[in-house]
């Protein structure tokens, strides 16, 4: 493996740059054996299953040993008329609100507070302890955090309602069990889980910003809010894009918290695409249909990701031109 093509015969030495280029142009072939395991594994575990999933989605199939029956694009046209399908994607917007928008805004507020006020006035230890506390839910397996919340919010024996009854509330809400409250409750839990991530990233972003910018602005008499808008926001734009991208993709994919909190219920009020697809695969035995849902979700995720990345590239380019 070591010396496969090393002996490149130096037959007629052409001019130096040309020789170098030709050597380099062949050299990469010798590295192919290192790429092969990765490519094979990737093909077997990701590309082929993805292709099979597309194939399944063109059939009606109960799964297992049952025969596949060709259905063309039928599963996809069925989706269009499926009320639950639309509910699941509408709920994705709620997931984006709870996992991207709110955590990013609160996270930015917390990070600037920790960095600007607490870190400077009370010392870095205070700031880092608080930051670790905000981050704590992020390190837990999301299913474990969900099981805990599921109990806390249980209508009969859960901590919240037991406390509410002690306080004299006769009929405390059935948080996860009623169609009115289930979605907002799930969103609150997701915000709790998610908040630490933007805090940590924004705090390190703020450390990156050149303090001289702030000093200059302060000398010009710019107030806190003005400095925040004119310096902080533009300076931490790269991190904001990364958080938006990663969290939006995560919000569209979300499965674990829904599974342990509500299983999509009650009456599909917290149904999300990934759980709906799971339900069709393993509960309703409608494999082709489940595959179609997963494919639509994939297309949506890639579209959203591409849009965010294009916006990021455009914003970076505009900044470069501005300078």
């Amino acid at each position: 493996m070591t010396t496969v093509d090393r002996a490149a015969p130096p037959a007629s030495r052409p001019t130096r740059p040309a020789r170098r280029r030709s050597r380099r142009s062949r050299e990469w072939v010798g590295y192919l054996p290192y790429l092969l395991p990765g490519l094979i594994a990737f093909t077997v575990v990701i590309l082929i299953p993805f292709g099979m999933n597309i194939w399944y989605s063109l059939h009606k199939w109960k799964g297992g040993a049952a025969p596949l029956r060709w259905y063309g694009l039928g599963n996809y046209t069925d989706l269009l008329a499926d009320e639950q399908f639309w509910t699941s994607f509408r709920n994705s917007i709620a997931m984006i609100l709870a996992m991207v928008v709110v955590p990013t805004l609160i996270g930015l507020l917390l990070a600037t507070t920790l960095f600007d006020v607490l870190g400077k006035r009370f010392g870095p230890r205070v700031a880092s302890v608080l930051r670790a506390t905000y981050y704590l839910p992020q390190i837990l397996p999301v299913a474990v955090a969900g099981v805990l919340w599921n109990w806390i919010l249980n209508s009969q024996t859960g901590a919240v309602n037991v406390i509410l009854r002690e306080l004299g509330v006769a009929n405390p809400p059935n948080w996860l069990g009623s169609t009115d409250t289930a979605l907002p409750t799930v969103m609150l839990v997701l915000i709790w889980i998610q908040i630490g991530y933007p805090v940590v990233i924004f705090m390190s972003a703020l450390q990156r910003v050149d303090p001289e910018l702030y000093e200059a602005a302060e000398l010009d008499g710019a107030g806190w809010w003005h400095r925040f808008r004119a310096i902080t926001i533009p300076q931490i734009k790269p991190e904001t894009f990364v958080i938006t991208l990663t969290c939006t993709v995560a919000a569209l994919k979300v499965f674990g918290p829904i599974y342990v909190l509500t299983r999509g219920g009650p009456e599909s009020s917290t149904l999300v695409p990934s759980y709906y697809s799971y339900l069709n695969f393993f509960d309703k035995s409608k494999v082709g249909y489940g595959a179609a849902i997963a494919n639509v979700l994939t297309v949506l995720i890639i579209l959203v990701a591409v849009v965010i990345m294009v916006l990021q590239a455009r914003s970076a380019r505009r900044e470069e031109e501005g300078r």
Binding site: Y31, G38, I46, A205, G221, V260
Partner: protein, 304 residues
């Protein structure tokens, strides 16, 4: 946060003499912040308390007898140190076995995933294999795929090769998924690998294999160890694919075992809380051990 609303001096001619004014506002602000900072601290601590309350309630009720709970509620101090809930959960799910399962699966994925990433990234970053941009993009896109799109075919494939309900199926799947990300990250790191080192190795007559282990590996070892920790923790926290692939208690990981007990008659308040508590402990221990690496890794990943 009391944002001081200050009038911005417009940069026009004839503004008041500068130095005394600046000093005045400085003193002013410091004075105002002197009290305001305590309010800001109180607000930040309040948020921290809100984040911690679920954990505190969990710990309080993990060791409280069910009768005590129904009588005195979730906020009271336990009347006696009740360990029946913990014991229930421990024996019911055979917790030590789940712990070993989780460690084995996550550990294997971390080691295999990092090795696979290193090989691929060596070819892409150092070897500059043709078409590397499209390969890296492909790997990156794979990271965005929802696992639902892969799970049924993988489930079928595992059954065909005799790996159904076998931890190796999960190990193989996550090795590839994590390595897709690892390759993307490492190949950009190796793309900037110092040429001088590589040339020196090649002058010494080292082949590609020896260069990889003798020159490249020692230099990128810190990055690899960050990847190793991340792969371990990510796999530890995974839920969906282990839930589908590992169907019996004996093969399951901690999160899956805990979640599949949900709704069980046995799961009274102390058992649920004790179960959540012991299921969290390993994750918290990792975090405490690797805190520095993790924070550095999260932020490094963000800035790329």
């Amino acid at each position: 946060m009391a944002a001081p609303i200050e009038t911005l001096p417009t940069p026009v001619a004839g503004r008041p003499p500068r130095p005394p004014r600046v000093r005045a506002t400085e003193v002013d602000r410091r004075h105002r912040r002197g009290t305001a900072r305590w309010f800001v601290l109180a607000g930040a601590v309040l948020v921290a308390v809100v984040m911690l309350v679920p954990f505190l309630i969990m710990v309080l009720n993990a060791f409280k007898a069910p009768a005590d709970y129904s009588q005195n509620g979730p906020l009271s101090w336990p009347a006696e140190f009740y360990t029946e809930g913990l014991r229930n959960f421990w024996t019911r799910v055979n917790f030590p076995e789940k712990l070993v399962n989780s460690i084995w699966i996550s550990g294997a994925v971390a080691v295999f995933g990092v090795t696979l990433s290193l090989f691929s990234a060596y070819a892409l970053g150092v070897g500059r294999v043709k078409g590397r941009m499209s390969i890296v993009t492909l790997f990156l896109l794979a990271n965005m795929l929802p696992q639902e799109v892969l799970v049924y075919p993988l489930f079928q494939m595992a059954q065909q090769v005799g790996l159904s309900n076998n931890q190796w199926s999960v190990i193989i799947i996550f090795t590839v998924i994590q390595a897709a990300f690892g390759t993307y990250l490492l190949s950009s790191v190796l793309g900037t690998f110092p040429k001088a080192l590589l040339e020196a190795a090649s002058l010494d007559g080292a082949g590609r294999w020896r260069t990889l282990w003798g020159v490249v590996f020692p230099v990128v070892r810190p990055t690899l160890s960050v990847l190793l920790i991340f792969f371990f923790i990510w796999t530890w926290n995974e839920f969906f694919i282990p839930l589908v692939m590992l169907t019996t208690n004996a093969t399951q990981t901690i999160p899956v075992a805990l979640a599949s007990l949900q709704g069980d008659r046995l799961m009274d308040a102390p058992t649920t809380n004790a179960g959540a508590l012991v299921s969290m402990i390993p994750a918290i221990v990792f975090f405490l051990i690797f805190q520095r690496t993790l924070t550095r890794g999260i932020t490094a990943g963000a800035v790329k």
